[in-house]
């Protein structure tokens, strides 16, 4: 069976944006301020640049091998067994990312909103919804992201814009922070960049793009929107609370929404509205990483039908989500997994690209039929 290339550039950008914006947005300013103080916007910007490199490598590889995803072209570049190890790591990493996002989601919901609901239920329901959605084909995948993107982005922009009324420029100065060591700043950049790495799933999208030669344009636009939103959230939070106060808050972005009021006493706190859009954002991220995990497993083991994979994987994902013993332990694990992930999502594609150049391996870029290779 053949799959038409149906995903447009705009849809591809929407996939990137809504995949990136996810559970991490709540703790993002806390991570940034903890490492860099008033230099938080600066390190966020640096992290966006760093993630851009990762996406750039992926896009360039995708344009070189237009009908293949990383699972397939890594075999062509590195040989079957070496690539197998790399792909297995990627699969494990994205499975972990899915689990941890579900768990973090659960922790926030239980702390802030549904205090008496068992954690297991919150985590399971999120995974379940993602699992059911994972049975759709990639065109539907693109539609879902495209559909949810405005729901995520526009309210977030409104909240940030409203909260900026309370911001003070002095809280953001000096922009390189007070007496930050280089290692601290660099650590901060890596931690923040880790929040962007779900964008790696782009490698799965490129083979289905109508015009894969514009993959880089789409990924840059997607990252620019998500990065811009993250940056403005960091600026708003640090501007309103100040770096020192931000360090004392577990989820400063939620706190910001709590402090922000709609003009004219329409709504006195926007945290409920913010949580609603955040749930959507978490779902779209979870959906992407879950989908990619299944996709990669299917490709790796050359399965003809991936439909049964999603339900089989769910208990494993759920079990891993239950591993952290408390919320602080969870953030410790997220930190470690995120740092390891950077090697996979930025380092590995770079390595592949270099080897492909050296070995002069090209994909079948004479793709006239506009048809992706079937499984």
């Amino acid at each position: 069976m053949e799959y038409p290339r149906q995903i447009t550039v705009i849809q591809a950008a929407a996939i990137i944006t809504s995949t990136i914006i996810g559970v991490g947005v709540l703790a993002l300013p806390y991570f940034a301020a903890g490492h860099a103080g008033t230099a938080s916007p600066l390190i966020t910007l640096a992290a966006i640049l760093l993630s851009f490199f990762g996406l750039w490598f992926i896009s360039v590889l995708g344009m070189r091998f237009r009908t293949q995803s990383i699972v397939e072209y890594s075999e062509a570049i590195l040989g079957r067994w070496l690539a197998f190890a790399g792909n297995l790591l990627i699969i494990l990493f994205f499975a972990a990312l899915t689990s941890l996002a579900a768990r973090e989601f659960g922790e926030v919901v239980i702390t802030a909103v549904l205090k008496r609901t068992p954690l297991e239920v919150v985590v399971a329901i999120m995974l379940l919804i993602a699992m059911i959605s994972c049975r759709k084909d990639i065109t539907t995948f693109a539609y879902i992201h495209h559909f949810y993107l405005p729901i995520i982005v526009f309210p977030a922009i409104v909240i940030v814009a409203l909260s900026l009324r309370n911001a003070k420029a002095i809280n953001l100065l000096p922009i390189w922070g007070n007496a930050n060591s280089w290692s601290n700043l660099l650590g901060g950049v890596l931690v923040v960049a880790a929040l962007f790495q779900a964008a790696f799933i782009y490698t799965m999208v490129i083979p289905y793009m109508r015009r894969p030669e514009r993959a880089l344009v789409a990924s840059s636009a997607g990252l620019a929107i998500a990065g811009g939103l993250y940056l403005s959230i960091v600026i708003a939070v640090i501007g309103v609370f100040g770096a020192e106060e931000t360090k004392k808050l577990q989820w400063p972005t939620l706190e910001l929404a709590k402090t922000t009021t709609l003009p004219g006493n329409v709504l006195e706190r926007l945290d409920a509205a913010f949580l609603a859009l955040w749930v959507t954002a978490v779902f779209s991220t979870l959906f992407s990483t879950y989908y990619f995990t299944i996709f990669a497993i299917g490709k790796l083991f050359r399965m003809r039908d991936r439909n049964m994979l999603a339900p089989f994987l769910m208990p494993l994902l759920f079990a891993f989500a239950m591993v952290p013993t408390n919320v602080l332990h969870m953030y410790q694990i997220i930190g470690q997994v995120g740092r390891l992930g950077l090697y996979l999502t930025i380092g590995y594609p770079l390595f592949l690209l270099i080897v492909a150049k050296i070995r002069r391996i090209r994909g079948n870029s004479d793709d006239q039929g506009r048809v992706a290779r079937p499984n």
Binding site: A124, P174, N178, K258, T259
Partner: protein, 413 residues
Amino acid sequence: MIKGVWPGRIERLLWIGVVFPLLTGCWDRLEIEERAVVLAIGIDEVENGSEVEVPQITNESDIFAPPNNQLVRVTVQIAVPGGIPLGPGEGGGGSSGVGGGQRSIWVVDAVGNTIEGALNNLQERIAPPLFYGHLRIIIVSEAVARKGIDNLNDYFRRNPEVRRMNWMFVCKGKAIDLMKTSPQLERVPPLYLVSMMDQAVKMGRFPNDFLGLFWSASSALGKEGFLPYLSLKPQGTMEIDGMAFFVKDKMVGLTKPIEIPMYMGIMGMSPAGGQVYVQVPEMHNFVLFGGRARKSIIKSSIRDGEPHISIHTGIEGVILEKFSEGMPLDDRTIHLIERKLEHDALEGYRELIRKTQEKGSDIFGFGEIIRAKQWRYWNRHIGTEEAWREKYKTLDVDINVHIYIRRIGMKSR
């Protein structure tokens, strides 16, 4: 993907049987009349020697030993379901001539080792769960504020229901007395205080200083927090009697009420709401000056290796009242009044700054300006909050005041 091995029927069953029921979130179903909505909290200390027995709910004397601190008494105002009138003319206490006070709210208090400890002891006696989502007012007695409110700040930051837009007050005497008064104007007493503060901020009589801003100021390296200082007046009224200023979490001093507009003048907070008497030089007469708008420019610099702050502040205003006839108001007199005002204001500003410097409490945030703008100096010589507190005591501050009287009202002279 491909038409499923897994039939759509199972999927539909999953949606209806599992996803829908779980998504409703019914674990946390809590009807509005089943919760005790806390509108205000007052915090007092329990004097030594008074016979108070702490119920052993969160602790026993040996196991789960509590911190060995001063006991606190927490008083809460709980909204009585159905007691709060929803519109004008509807039920309530208004018709009987008694302010809503005692009917719409219930005032209860309990003692404990910490805030949450006391609230937990309170919960033991109140059937429905206490709910803090609508908490608007926190009143801390001066005695507690002077000992430090770290524990309090920690509790209210940690509790997800509490919002940052609350107002926190320091009160003269006992918080419980304030909690028991019921102003006649508002049928729900805590809302009276809220609207009082909202109006004060709108009229420019008090700086906007809700809980979140106080927290941010206390956390910032080069700034300290302050809170409105309330005192109980006759006829069940309350008055803002100055600003209680803090060092970290401890109240260290109190300004006079007149120093509130002084503070706002230094910070250039508009609109201006303060009013002052001016004795017009040369003529033995007084006028009452009312501010309308303020603006200030605060600049920092390093002079001879020491930080320096220079403030240019301007106030625009009008003449509200003249003490007696016999002094024509003309352009020359207006300028005389302006000069005199500038002189007096300068004295006032200096005095306020000196007062806070004495305690090392930089409520103006000059340290933040140094940290942001003179970061080289800050990194090398200051770096910490404590160091700034010391430095602030000897900080050199220059003030220039410009007063402009623009209008004199409907009377011609």
